[in-house]
């Protein structure tokens, strides 16, 4: 049982405030008579955070009731589905904010009393400024929650007729298959998409309706891994048409956008879950039947983990599995510390969250919890059908366990529990820690050059040859620096090749001060007139775009300051450096 059960609506606490009283419409006024009385007394005092928190909880539960009721029914009305989607979004957001606030609050208490032994370790890893709520004052939090409460409760009032019509739609039979869908959350929050596909599958052309009774209907699901040209697709279609089946439905799935022109109906775009929805998903998955409210410390840890996972579905499943099996704060702390370590390392080394790379199916460097000296890399990920063989080793074994393998291999990242039981497999590698040589050898620079024949060279070779004589000097200079830097081994012309490709910043001119600020040789390289000419040539598209943006900015500046108008008019004719300088100074005033 994954979805949290709504047993009894909690009794709204005392201190109702007028703005929400009429919107909430508690089922029985008599039941809350006491609360109502209190409200009259407190009418003029400001509502406390606690009050808002309880009200928000109550409203969220109501939203949840509607959501779960709707999910169990086969709704065909488009507008209703849209409205439900909006309500669901608001609900996820509400839970995200509320949980964030509640567990954050709790976390501060924990920190004060130092209850958790691991806490000091964690607080080092997670910088406090990352926290969503710690920066705001209590008043700000209050306003935020109040705003959320208002919008949610007005939304619920708006769903009156929706709830009424909901009854008219048939209930979905909870056959085992549907139960899977509901319990495993496989179709989490995707009711609109589900209904869309079901109606597509059930849709038949009127004059073909008798075929429904016959056999020979065929459903083809095509998964496009790379690029699919229209020619190839046409061939594929004609091959399908030659099949015996009379009624064929084809569903194409792909990560690329370019399949959109192949289909005959609209495209259903499945985006990654937003942060708020992902938290709700991860919470239900990790806590299962346990109530997160009873384990606020664990919930806090889970929230941080969800933030790090960044919408990664496979990661969420794997992690939730481990967490649920080890429902213990020490283990959770360890896992979170591991997450932090991997993410920080990845960001400092490659400049991005590993989950983002995994989401885009790009190679990512992960680590292993038990043996942190080993580098664990994921190269590629793909589906396997149930007929194909899948690896025995799971991703959890590698990440959290002590599986002893090295080299390249495959792991099972996730196996679907609903037919057709697809498996998701990662191709990965564990690199054994190798003792790094203190100094990389580069003595062969002046070794034998291969004999070059004449005539067949492109301009690049001449470039290479032209720069060659300068190398020894450059190398000697780098050697003086004494570092084992990766760049110190490169001749300057290659460093220039790399720096040439650094894209110009979109709207700010700081980048090149940044590059120049790294070290002297880089500054020298980018100051070279030849380099500048080539740079301007290679990036002319971006530079034109920037110039346009600057012109727009200039217009803006012109509107603001009349006295400079004469000067700026000149700049339309020929933008020059001096005018840019003037602009950047004036725009700061």
């Amino acid at each position: 049982m994954v979805r949290t059960q709504v047993d009894q609506p909690p009794c709204p606490p005392g201190g109702f405030f007028p703005s929400t009283l009429d919107r909430l419409r508690p089922p029985s006024r008599a039941r809350f008579g006491h609360a109502f009385h209190l409200q009259l007394v407190d009418n003029f005092s400001r509502p406390s955070v606690m009050d808002i928190e309880h009200h928000l909880r109550w409203v969220l539960l109501r939203a949840q009731v509607i959501d779960e009721e709707a999910f169990g029914r086969n709704i065909t009305n488009r507008a209703m589905l849209q409205q439900l989607d909006m309500l669901r979004d608001a609900m996820y957001q509400g839970y995200f904010k509320l949980d964030g606030f509640r567990y954050q609050h709790h976390n501060k208490e924990v920190a004060k009393h130092k209850i958790v032994s691991h806490y000091s370790l964690l607080s080092k890893l997670i910088s406090v400024k990352d926290f969503r709520f710690s920066s705001g004052t209590s008043r700000k939090i209050l306003e935020e929650l109040q705003e959320l409460l208002d919008s949610l409760s007005s939304m619920i009032v708006g769903t009156n007729e929706l709830v009424m019509f909901l009854k008219s739609f048939p209930r979905l039979y909870h056959q085992p298959y549907c139960m899977h869908l509901v319990f495993e959350n496989s179709m989490f929050g995707r009711q609109m998409e589900t209904e869309h596909i079901i109606s597509f599958l059930l849709h038949t052309k009127p004059h073909h309706s008798q075929e429904l009774l016959e056999d020979g209907r065929l459903l083809v699901v095509v998964e496009v891994a790379g690029d699919l040209t229209e020619d190839a697709w046409k061939k594929c279609c004609s091959a399908l048409k030659r099949c015996a089946a009379k009624c064929i439905k084809i569903i194409i799935t792909s990560r690329c956008d370019n399949i959109s022109k192949l289909g005959t109906t609209g495209v259903i775009a499945l985006k990654y879950l937003r942060n708020e929805a992902f938290w709700y998903f991860f919470k239900t998955l990790t806590f299962g039947t346990n109530d997160p409210d009873k384990h606020p410390r664990l919930a806090f840890l889970a929230m941080e983990m969800a933030r790090m996972l960044n919408g990664n579905f496979i990661g969420a499943n794997g992690t939730a599995f481990v967490l649920r099996d080890n429902f213990d704060i020490d283990v959770w702390c360890k896992v979170l510390a591991f997450f932090c370590g991997v993410t920080h390392k990845h960001i400092s080394k490659f400049g991005g969250n590993p989950s983002d790379l995994l989401n885009q199916n790009r190679p990512a460097h992960l680590g292993r919890m038990a043996r942190d000296c080993e580098a664990f890399m994921v190269y590629d990920q793909y589906h396997r059908s149930s007929q194909e063989e899948v690896p025995n080793m799971t991703l959890q074994d590698v990440l959290y366990g002590s599986a002893k393998t090295h080299g390249k291999f495959e792991v099972l990242a996730w196996r679907s529990r609903i037919p057709p039981y697809h498996s998701h497999v990662y191709a990965c590698e564990i690199q054994e820690p190798k003792p790094r040589a203190a100094k990389r050898k580069r003595s062969m620079r002046n070794g034998v050059m291969p004999r070059l024949s004449q005539g067949s060279f492109s301009s690049f070779d001449s470039l290479m040859l032209r720069h060659r004589p300068e190398e020894p000097a450059a190398a000697a200079e780098h050697a003086e620096d004494g570092g084992t830097s990766l760049f110190s081994d490169l001749p300057e012309d290659l460093v220039a090749e790399i720096l040439l490709r650094v894209t110009p910043p979109a709207l700010q001119r700081l980048r090149h001060r940044r590059v120049a600020g790294v070290c002297r040789s880089w500054r020298r390289i980018i100051a070279d007139a030849d380099f500048r000419r080539r740079y301007a040539h290679h990036h002319r598209a971006e530079i034109t775009a920037r110039r346009d943006a600057e012109l727009a900015l200039r217009e803006e500046a012109e509107r603001r300051a009349d006295y400079t108008s004469a000067m700026y008019k000149k700049s339309y004719v020929r933008p020059s450096r001096d005018l840019v300088t003037t602009l950047s100074r004036t725009s700061f005033i």
Binding site: G226, S348, G351, R362, P363, M377, Y379, Y382, K408, A427, R440, M444, R445, G447, V448, P450, L452, S453, S456, F457, S458, F460, D461, M464, D481, G482, G483, T484, S485, L486, D489, L490, L494, E497, I498, L499, L500, V502, T503, H512, R513, R514, V515, A516, G517, V518, C519, R520, A527, R532, R533, A536, H537, H538, H539, R540, I543, P575, S576, R577
Partner: protein
């Protein structure tokens, strides 16, 4: 899967190539031998093309003393993968006028190819590509390194690439004051 597939197909092409005696044997600085098809070598590397045309290819392994075995393995891997991928218009045009045309974005497989490399291997590969005159590979690897600098401060860049800061405080301040040169001032 792509890695395995690449290897499997590489082996297959190697076998076919051996039958035709249509391969070039390359020898790394530490004496390891690698084979690559003559066609791919000539197409991708101007230096190797020159050597093939000039007849300076040694059947027992052409010495490439500047290139270590790891880098050479990557080079050969790249050649094989390149042979298996469909050359797109971007590839062809970029090889014609390297020095003047804007850089073409790396293809998906090329991105994956460089993404999986460690920093050391990547820098070794830049040098190997430069030495062998493999424009496209140089393009792809340099692009990857330049991407690593995206959105980073000088301090972060220095940290990532382990570059020593050889500026004095005053000089850094001077750079901060100095206006960046405009890109289009000529």
């Amino acid at each position: 899967m792509e890695v395995d597939k690449g290897k499997g197909e590489a082996e297959e092409t190697r076998k076919v190539a051996e039958a035709d005696r249509d391969t070039v044997t390359l020898k790394s600085s530490d004496g390891k031998l690698f084979e690559v098809s003559k066609e791919a070598a000539a197409r991708l590397s101007t230096v190797l093309a020159g050597m093939i045309a000039g007849g300076s290819i040694d059947d027992n392994g052409t010495d490439l003393k500047q290139i270590g075995s790891e880098a050479l393995e990557n080079v050969v891997d790249y050649c094989n993968k390149h042979a298996n991928s469909i050359p797109s218009a971007a590839l062809i045009s970029s090889s014609i006028s390297f020095n003047t045309a804007p850089f073409k974005e790396p293809e998906e497989w090329e991105r994956k190819f460089v993404d999986r490399l460690s920093h050391d291997a990547l820098f070794d590969l830049v040098e190997a590509a430069n030495f062998l005159g493999m424009e496209r590979l140089l393009d792809v690897t340099c692009h990857k390194i330049s991407e690593m600098m995206k959105g980073k401060s000088p301090d972060q860049i220095r940290e990532v690439f382990n570059i020593k800061n050889d500026y004095t405080k005053e000089e850094l301040e001077e750079i901060r004051q100095e206006l960046a040169w405009a890109f289009y001032d000529d």
